[in-house]
């Protein structure tokens, strides 16, 4: 069995300290490596070694037209594709100085919330498999299929929707969508009650996650932590409330905040977020305004055939001016709230058809610091519990 020589190196480290590599191939899922230095069973130092999935998206976006960056950035967090790309289109619309019509805003909100629910259920499945509870993995993934089917009825795709356009969306809501959603919502609410008995009040799971990985509010503010990890430590920070976009200013929802900051609080906070998302979708479907789904400026460029397709089938085709989009020179930033935290987009344009610089910061990249500062002091057996509760997603951190 030949292993290439340059793939394995040895070096001498200090006495009584064991260096353990939790490498890219490990029981669990996650393409990253942690170099953990152990003193007996207690972790002394943790060094995250990321970059295994670095697909150089920022450089590739500089060579492609503005609209082609959507499939590129979607693959950062493929299971949450709507929330990841909405920030890019908010920044692009600020550069172009347009706003989508009200009906398009509501449709965007509905898709974003469906995406958020599916992503949280995936996170619970991964937490279950890290703790060794493979029944939780199976059940959560089975329930996630309900919402993926719902998104497929709206957009036609399971995971990579590519649904947004600068100034609107691509499809209208199909008939019968409201009844489908009601069925899905009733199903998942019943299941969440069952999970409380099987998963959350399970004594074995509780012992492993309660009081483990405590993140104090002071440390969370200092390290710039975002998303459910910050909200479970007492920091009330949600971009949907601070810099509202789309239909969020007109809808009524709460942001759950817990104070303990341990792994159990992070888990319970996400369950509450699923319930709030269901509330948001229900309100949006009830208050959906009528009107076009794409902005006036592009609707004027439509030919007769394209207008007919829009009226009969509800599909918005892309006019030629949108493919050769030339936003005026300038810079703009935009933030959006995804399931794992806030996305930050910063676009620089010099008047051409391709971006001059497209900067994206994902929440997992901002949460990598937590591995370095939160883990030391706990036992090695707590490592999977803390990792699973932080909901760290490597392709998003590496971009």
């Amino acid at each position: 069995m030949t292993i290439p020589a340059q793939a394995i190196t040895t070096r001498r480290i200090a006495k009584d300290v064991l260096e353990l590599h939790v490498g890219p191939q490990h029981p669990g899922s996650g393409h990253m490596r942690f170099v953990i230095r152990l003193d007996g069973d207690i972790m002394v130092e943790v060094d995250p070694d990321i970059g295994f999935v670095h697909r150089t998206m920022e450089k590739l976006a500089e060579n492609r037209e503005w609209l082609k960056a959507q499939p590129l950035f979607e693959r950062m967090a493929i299971l949450d594709a709507a929330n990841v790309t909405i920030g890019y289109f908010l920044a692009l619309e600020k550069l172009l100085d347009i706003e989508p019509p009200p009906r398009a805003k509501y449709i965007r909100t509905i898709l974003c919330e469906i995406s958020r629910i599916a992503s949280h259920l995936y996170g619970f499945g991964i937490l279950g498999i890290f703790l060794g509870h493979s029944t939780a993995y199976m059940w959560f993934f089975g329930d996630r299929e309900v919402f993926i089917e719902l998104a497929e009825r709206l957009t036609g795709q399971r995971l990579t929707y590519s649904f947004f356009l600068p100034g609107g969306v691509r499809r209208d809501i199909p008939t019968g969508f409201k009844d489908d959603f009601e069925k899905a919502a009733r199903y998942i609410e019943k299941r969440l009650k069952e999970y409380e008995a099987i998963f959350m009040n399970n004594p074995v799971i509780r012992v492993r996650v309660e009081g483990v990985g405590v993140l104090t509010k002071d440390m969370a503010v200092r390290l710039g932590v975002v998303g459910p990890n910050a909200r479970a430590s007492g920091v009330k920070h949600d971009i949907r409330v601070e810099e509202p976009y789309d239909a969020y200013p007109e809808l009524d929802f709460e942001v759950p905040v817990y104070k303990e900051g341990d792994a159990l609080a992070r888990f319970l906070q996400r369950v509450d977020e699923i319930r709030e998302s269901l509330k948001i979708i229900r309100q949006a479907l009830k208050a959906m305004p009528n009107g076009p789904i794409i902005h006036e400026r592009y609707l004027r460029m439509y030919t007769k055939v394209m207008k007919e397709v829009l009226e009969t089938q509800g599909r918005a085709k892309i006019p030629a001016a949108m493919i050769n989009l030339r936003p005026p020179a300038g810079e703009a930033y935009a933030r959006a709230e995804a399931a794992r935290g806030e996305y930050f987009y910063y676009l620089v344009s010099n008047g051409g058809t391709k971006p001059y610089r497209a900067r994206v910061v994902s929440p997992s990249f901002r949460n990598v610091l937590l591995f370095k500062y939160l883990m030391p002091g706990y036992r090695l057996a707590d490592f999977p519990a803390i990792y699973g509760s932080l909901d760290y997603f490597p392709p998003e951190a590496d971009r």
Partner: protein
Amino acid sequence: MESLAKPIKKIVDWATSFSLWPVHLMTACCGCELAVTYAPRLDTERLGSLPFTHARNTNTVIIEGAVTKKMARALKVTYEQMPHPKFVIGMGACAIDGGLFYNSYNLVKPWKVVPINNYIPGCPPRPEALTQAVYALQKEIREKELASYKFLGFLSRRGKKEKESS
């Protein structure tokens, strides 16, 4: 002795094809669809394939998605640790020729690192496509005797020694 070769080889191929255990190595974003394939909607465990944790106890690698330069080293080391006979399935457009990131400076073509048996197009491929690829690999193992090629050498050497001694 020769008359036992064919049934033994058939049993070995049949048994290997119904125990293709992939190792837990997620290379990039198609890993989400891999996780869904082994979930209740499309339970691929009924085909005998169980994702297992350690490289030394498994015999399949499913390369999902883009392989970067850092990950190529880990992929090669994992592949070398697995015992023969082993198989590789390349999943997604990124495993075929780079996919959406075709001109990236950090990507490696996976067929230059490990030999690949089956390719699955799609970005990401539907879970049904992955199940079909596992099924097609099973049929290929049984028809082309990919797992029992070593038995032929063992039995024919035994046969030759008996002929020489008699």
